[in-house]
């Protein structure tokens, strides 16, 4: 297991843009989102190794009930990521963070932060469901600009 305190390579982990999405294909923008790339060192644990996941935009915390970690088309509310022991995020793989918001995000630049609390349990099939192991908090921060296009997700 690595020396040091870094459990991920932060640079480049969050995309440089926010996109607006029409998820239900009704012609109305209903979500916005950004990409997040797996640059966790030794990324062979289920996504439940992330014991807590929260998002801030311009220092305002996003309602966690409306935010989702989307991996290979699988939508997981960020409140429930810590329960997942059978979905794995592969090394270098991109996931999406999608936030439900009518009309999406207006054009401009935003500071986005992902605050992720990782367990120190060193395991690859088992998650720390009872949170008996200490945790490390990592903050990913990036300035993102809004893309003009409205995307659809198939």
């Amino acid at each position: 297991m690595p020396a040091g305190k870094s459990i991920l390579i932060k640079e480049g982990m969050i995309s440089s843009y926010i996109k607006n999405y029409d998820i239900d294909h009704d012609g109305i923008t209903d979500h916005y989102g950004f990409m997040i790339r797996n640059q966790i060192l030794h990324p062979c644990s289920p996504i439940g190794c992330m014991r807590c996941f929260s998002i801030m935009v311009n220092d305002i915390e996003i309602d966690s009930n409306k935010a989702f970690f989307v991996l290979r088309g699988q939508w997981i509310n960020i409140n429930k990521v810590s329960t997942i022991k059978e979905i794995f995020w592969n090394i270098g793989e991109e996931a999406m963070v999608l936030v439900q918001q009518q009309d999406g995000m207006k054009s401009g630049e935003y500071e986005v932060k992902c605050l992720i609390t990782f367990t120190t349990l060193v395991e690859s099939r088992i998650i720390d469901s009872r949170d008996i192991f200490p945790k490390r908090v990592e903050v990913l921060s990036s300035k993102l600009t809004v893309s003009d296009r409205v995307e659809e997700i198939c």
């Binding site: 020396a3 305190k5 480049g12 120190t120």
Partner: protein, 287 residues
Amino acid sequence: MLSTIGVSLWSIEPLSFNENRTVEEIIDIIGNLGVDSIDFIHDYLYCHPHANIYKLKALKKRTEAAGLKTLSLWFRTDIVAAIYAASFKEAIDNFNEYIAISADFGTKYLTCPFLNNTPGVSIEKSKEVLLRFFEHVLPVAEEYNVVIGHEIARQGTPEASLWLNNKLKSPYYTPCPDFEAWRLVTDDISFDHVEKTDSNNHQPTSIELFKDCLKHAKVMHAKLLSFDANGEEPHFPIAEMMEAVNATGKGYHFSIEYEGWIPDIKPELNCIEETKKGVDLLKRYLK
């Protein structure tokens, strides 16, 4: 040279982050480093949530096509932690699957870390728990002919592994010395480890204990952090350790784990070039 030298995929993991290289491309890169083998780490094995046999066999073919053997498969499981976080049964079931994966991959060795970081569990308690655990899994290891190398990289773990080795008396359990346990106290690189949130009061393990481990070890993890201008690695007692290795008259399988690329050390350096320095270092010392 009696020993073999392999490179752990850990050594050039930054290529996955910075250059989007696939594991297959990384295998080809290692094939050009003048080494005997690849040490596969869990990060790149297609076994989540369970083994993808087709993809694992393809990895093996790619390794052979690159002119390399497989040194071992390293699984990211701290056994004591797994038992306390879940259950004894679940830890055994997972480990038995790892043994089967290793056998199917055609490798003789499976390695896993011994970390001693489970809250409230002393090293003495860990020894008892591990003894019971290995009594269950070693028959499976024997059935599949896979030797377990218990990676000892933390204070107290070499002694504990030697105790287990003495109790188990099985050729299928071996200590796997990791240079990290023998790291010298220097000012330039801290002794933090990612699995611990508090600071470490590290003292290097003695060379005598290293010699004791050599009587039983088959696989060694050559953790290397940063080279000086002469290509030496001043953070470990390399000369003394290699002298001890050569004195045994036996060969070992060395897996180079170059780790200087982590954000805490020198991420700006080229991990392939630095790993090659590690290869050259071991070739200079090993007889």
